[in-house]
C-alpha cells in the first residue's frame, strides 16, 4: 500500500466513565488517532449486539465498547452484562470471519483519559494492519449471500481461508 489505511471506529461510550474519560482526554489536549466516532449511551449495558453489527454493516472497520471498571458501574453491574454479551458476540463474529481485534471492550474510568486515548491509538494501529472490513464481501460473501448458509458445519476454516486469499 502506498498510503496508510485510515480505519473508522465506532465508539460506544458510557455516560458516566468512558465518555468522561474521552472528555478528559480532549480537555487535556491528549492527541490520539482521530479515527473514532463516538456515541454516548447511558451505560455500556445498553449496547445491544444489534448496534455493533449495524456499525460493522454500515462500513465501520471496528467497534469499541467502553464502560466503567467492574465494580465501579454507575448502574451497579451494567458493565458485567456488557461483558457477558460481548463474549457471546465475539464468538458469533469469529464464526463470520471477523477478526477479534475489530470489536473490543475497554474499561475506562472517568479519570482514565490517557487509557482511552491509548486504546483508540492501539486499536487504530491494529485495524490499519488488518485493512478495511468489507462486510459485504468478507462476511456476506462476494455475491451477497451468507456463507454460513452454504457451509453449515466446518465453515469457519473455509471462511477464513477465503479471507486470507482475498486480503
Amino acid at each position: 500500500m502506498s498510503e496508510v489505511y485510515e480505519p473508522v471506529i465506532v465508539g460506544f461510550l458510557c455516560n458516566w466513565c468512558s465518555y468522561r474519560a474521552a472528555d478528559l482526554a480532549g480537555t487535556a489536549r491528549l492527541h490520539y488517532a482521530p479515527n473514532m466516532r463516538a456515541i454516548r449511551v447511558m451505560c455500556s449495558g445498553r449496547v445491544e449486539p444489534d448496534l455493533v453489527l449495524k456499525a460493522l454493516r454500515e462500513g465501520a472497520d471496528g467497534v469499541l465498547i467502553a464502560g466503567c471498571h467492574p465494580g465501579e458501574c454507575h448502574y451497579i453491574e451494567g458493565n458485567l452484562k456488557t461483558l457477558r454479551r460481548y463474549t457471546l458476540l465475539k464468538r458469533l463474529l469469529a464464526q463470520f470471519g471477523v477478526e477479534p481485534e475489530r470489536v473490543q471492550l475497554l474499561w475506562a474510568s472517568a479519570s482514565e483519559g490517557p487509557a482511552l486515548a491509548e486504546a483508540v491509538d492501539r486499536m487504530t494501529e491494529q485495524l490499519r494492519a488488518l485493512g478495511p472490513l468489507r462486510w459485504k464481501a468478507s462476511v456476506l460473501g462476494s455475491n451477497g449471500y451468507h456463507p454460513m448458509a452454504a457451509v453449515p458445519c466446518g465453515g469457519e476454516a473455509e471462511v477464513s481461508d477465503r479471507l486470507v486469499a482475498e486480503v
Partner: protein, 668 residues
C-alpha cells in the same frame, strides 16, 4: 410530517474553528436531508448564540435542533434551556461533541472536519426520531441520613438540625467523636481537640432534630434521590437506653479486663462492658459480646447485679430499623496506615517504635499515660525522639499521594515533646515540609526556632543493631541526608512513625451499598474534583471529610457544612425534576419471558403473573438501558435512547462509508 432541523456549529473562539473547517461543515450541513437551516457562530453558548437559536426556532418553525459544540456534559443544559424558551420541547435537541472528542485531539484538519460532519450527521439522523419528553418531578423526603459520627458527620448533622431539618446520624462505634476524639492538640493553634469537639458531641446528643443511632451500621440501601429506604442494624448493646443513667458502676464492677484496641490503640485496658472514653455520647456503655464472661461461660452478670437502674438486659437483640430519607451524607472517614506494612521501620518488632496515633494518646491528658511521654516500659523518659514523616504516603510501594496532615501534626509533636521534655532532642525526618494552610508556615518556623532538628531525607531503616558504642541500647535511624549529601545514623530512644491516611478498609463495600465509585486510592469519587466536591455520581448522595481524600479538620468541617447545605437545598425545593431517561415496556409486545426481571440492578421491573407481562416502575428505574438491550421481543424502549434513535445515529455517523469498496481503492 417532515421535521425541520436547525444545525448550529460553534467555533468556540478558535478551539473548534482552528481544527474543524466550520464554514465548510455548516455549508455541507445545510444541504443535508431534514436540515432547514445551518449556521456557524463564534460562541454558541453565549447569550447571543442562544438567542440566535431561539429566534430561528420561532422564525423558521424549527422542530428539532442540533448543536455541534463542546461536550454535552458542559452545555447540554444550556441549549435545552434555549429550546425550551423558544417553545420547543428540550428533548428535541441533540448535541454533537466536536470539541473534546474531535478538535482537541488532533491537528489533522481534514480528519477533524470529516469527524465533525459524521457526528453532526449522526445527531441529525437521531434527532428527527426524538420524542418530546417531560422531566419527572420527584418529591424530596425532608429527612437526611448522615453516616459516620466523626467531626464531619457531627458538623453535617448539626448544620441540618439547626436549619430545622431532621437528621438520622448513624455511627458504627459505641460513641460519636471519631478520630478527632482520640487526638490531643490540634495544629497550628494547639487548642485541645476535646475542648472544641465535646461540646458539639453533646449538642448532637441533645438536639431534638437529631436521631442518634450509635453502635449501628447501614445494612441496605434502596431507592433514589428524594426517596431512599435505608436499613440500619442497631447492634445489641445489652443496655436499656431508657433506664441507663450513665453512672458507670457497671464498668467498675465488671471483672473482665480486655485490651482497648480501638480508642486507645492497644495501649491500655478497658472492661468487657465499657464506654469508649469518658466524654462518650451517648453516655450508655455497651457489653462487648466477644469478651464478656457471661457470653463466654454463661455466668457472671456482675453488671446486671450491681446496676442501680436495672438497665442491663442480656436478652437484647440486634434491631433492624428502616429509615425513609431524601438524601444521604457519607462521612465515613479514614483509616490510619498500618505501620507493620513497612517492616524496615520495625513497628511491632522494636518496642520503642510508636505510631503517631499512639503518641497522640500518650500526649492526651486523659490517655493511658495521663499525658506523660514514656517508652514502652512506662517509666523511662526518652532523651531523644525521632519523628519520621510520610510513613505510607508519597511512596509508590504504599500510597503515592500525600496525606496532607502528617507534616503539620509531626511539627505539633516536635513542639509538644519539647514542651513536656525540654531536655529531649527531637529529630524530624522529612521529604518536604508541606505547610500550606492558614498559619501553618508560621507554625513551622516557630517549631524550627524552638530548636527541633530537621533532616531532609527518606528514612531507610530503623534498627537496634549498634555499630558504635554510643549506638548501644538505642534505636538507630539510618537516613541519607539529601541536603548535606551524606549518610547519617542517628541514635535515639524513641521513634514515632507519622502515619498517612488511607481509605477505610471497607470503603469499597460502603461504595457498593450506596452505588458510588472509589478512586484508585480507594477514596469515594466526587462528581467533580473542583466544582462539585461533595456530590457523588449518585443524585442525593453526598460525601464529606476524609472519606473523599486525605484532609485535616478545617477542610472536613467545610465539606461537611457544604454537604449539609446541598442536602437542605434539596429539601427546601420539595420536589426536584429528574431526567426522563427511563425504560418503558410495551405490554402488547411483551412475551412475559422475564429475561429483563433479573437484569435490573434496581429491581425496578415487576412481573404481573395474571397478565403474563413485565412492567417497569418508572420511579425506581435509573435509565441504564440494560433491559432495553436484552429484550428479545424489542418490547422495552428506553426513552431518549431508543433502538431506532441509536440505529439512526450509527447510520448517520457512518454516512460517508456507504461505499467502502471505493474508499478502499482510494486508499490503496
Amino acid at each position: 410530517m417532515e421535521e425541520k432541523v436547525g444545525v448550529y456549529i460553534c467555533h468556540c473562539g478558535t478551539n473548534i474553528a482552528d481544527t474543524v473547517d466550520v464554514m465548510d461543515t455548516a455549508q455541507w450541513a445545510s444541504e443535508q436531508p431534514h436540515v432547514a437551516i445551518a449556521r456557524e457562530y463564534k460562541f454558541m453558548c453565549s447569550s447571543l448564540g442562544q438567542e440566535l437559536i431561539e429566534n430561528d426556532i420561532r422564525e423558521y418553525g424549527l422542530t428539532r435542533v442540533v448543536v455541534g459544540a463542546c461536550s454535552p456534559h458542559m452545555h447540554e443544559k444550556t441549549f435545552r434551556g434555549a429550546c425550551q424558551r423558544a417553545g420547543l420541547n428540550p428533548f428535541l435537541f441533540e448535541m454533537a461533541n466536536i470539541r473534546e472528542l474531535d478538535s482537541w485531539i488532533t491537528n489533522n484538519k481534514e480528519a477533524a472536519t470529516r469527524n465533525a460532519k459524521a457526528m453532526i450527521k449522526g445527531a441529525v439522523e437521531r434527532v428527527v426520531l426524538h420524542q418530546p419528553l417531560d422531566y419527572l418531578p420527584v418529591e424530596i423526603n425532608p429527612h437526611t441520613l448522615v453516616v459516620g459520627g466523626g467531626i464531619a458527620g457531627i458538623t453535617s448533622a448539626l448544620e441540618l438540625a439547626n436549619s430545622g431539618y431532621h437528621v438520622y446520624l448513624v455511627e458504627r462505634e459505641a460513641s460519636i467523636g471519631g478520630h478527632m476524639a482520640q487526638w490531643d492538640k490540634t495544629f497550628p493553634t494547639l487548642d485541645c481537640a476535646a475542648c472544641i469537639l465535646t461540646p458539639r458531641m453533646v449538642e448532637v446528643g441533645q438536639h431534638p432534630n437529631i436521631t442518634l443511632l450509635t453502635y449501628s451500621e447501614v445494612e441496605n440501601v434502596e431507592g433514589y434521590l428524594g426517596n431512599f429506604t435505608v436499613t440500619v442494624r442497631k447492634k445489641a448493646r445489652f443496655v436499656n437506653e431508657e433506664l441507663c443513667t450513665g453512672c458507670a458502676i457497671c464498668e467498675e464492677k465488671c471483672p473482665k479486663k480486655v485490651i482497648d484496641e480501638v480508642f486507645n490503640v492497644g495501649m491500655t485496658h478497658r472492661k468487657a462492658i465499657y464506654k469508649p472514653f469518658p466524654q462518650a455520647v451517648p453516655m450508655y456503655p455497651v457489653v462487648d459480646r466477644a469478651t464478656c464472661t457471661y457470653f463466654i461461660k454463661g455466668k457472671c452478670k456482675a453488671c446486671e447485679i450491681f446496676c442501680p437502674a436495672g438497665a442491663i438486659d442480656f436478652e437484647q437483640q440486634d434491631e433492624l430499623i428502616q429509615l425513609q430519607v431524601g438524601s444521604v451524607i457519607l462521612a465515613t472517614g479514614f483509616d490510619a496506615f498500618d505501620a507493620t506494612r513497612i517492616p524496615q521501620y520495625g513497628y511491632g518488632r522494636l518496642s520503642n517504635v510508636f505510631t503517631s496515633v499512639e503518641l497522640e494518646r500518650m500526649l492526651n491528658a486523659s490517655g493511658p499515660t495521663a499525658g506523660k511521654i514514656g517508652l514502652r516500659d512506662r517509666n523511662t523518659q526518652p532523651e531523644s525522639v525521632a519523628i519520621i514523616h510520610c510513613v505510607g504516603s508519597r511512596d509508590e510501594n504504599y500510597h503515592e499521594y500525600c496525606s496532607r496532615v502528617c507534616c503539620m501534626y509531626s511539627l505539633k509533636f516536635a513542639h509538644l515533646v519539647r514542651e513536656r521534655l525540654p531536655e529531649a532532642e527531637v529529630y524530624n525526618f522529612y521529604i518536604d515540609i508541606r505547610a500550606a494552610g492558614k498559619r501553618y508556615e508560621e507554625f513551622y518556623h516557630r517549631v524550627m526556632k524552638e530548636g527541633a532538628n530537621f533532616i531532609r531525607g527518606k528514612v531507610a531503616e530503623v534498627t537496634d543493631i549498634a555499630r558504635t558504642p554510643e549506638e548501644e541500647g538505642k534505636l538507630v535511624v539510618q537516613v541519607y541526608d539529601t541536603l548535606a549529601g551524606m549518610q547519617r545514623r542517628i541514635p535515639v530512644d524513641m521513634v514515632v512513625l507519622s502515619l498517612g491516611m488511607e481509605a477505610r478498609h471497607d470503603a469499597q463495600k460502603v461504595a457498593q451499598l450506596f452505588g458510588l465509585g472509589c478512586d484508585l486510592s480507594g477514596f469515594f469519587i466526587e462528581r467533580h474534583p473542583k466544582l462539585d466536591p461533595v456530590l457523588t455520581m449518585v443524585e442525593g448522595i453526598f460525601i464529606a471529610g476524609a472519606c473523599q481524600g486525605p484532609m485535616a479538620i478545617p477542610e472536613s468541617v467545610a465539606q461537611a457544612a457544604a454537604a449539609a447545605v446541598r442536602s437542605s437545598g434539596l429539601i427546601s425545593q420539595e420536589t426536584v425534576l429528574m431526567e426522563p431517561v427511563r425504560a418503558h415496556i410495551n405490554e402488547a409486545k411483551c412475551s412475559g419471558c422475564r429475561i429483563c426481571n433479573n437484569l435490573c440492578p434496581y429491581t425496578a421491573i415487576v412481573f404481573h403473573a395474571e397478565r403474563q407481562v413485565s412492567e417497569v416502575i418508572t420511579a425506581m428505574c435509573q435509565g441504564c438501558g440494560t433491559c432495553v438491550a436484552a429484550c428479545p421481543s424489542s418490547a422495552i424502549s428506553g426513552a431518549h435512547f431508543t433502538h431506532e434513535q441509536l440505529m439512526a445515529q450509527v447510520q448517520g455517523l457512518l454516512w460517508d462509508m456507504s461505499e467502502p469498496e471505493s474508499r478502499e481503492l482510494a486508499a490503496v
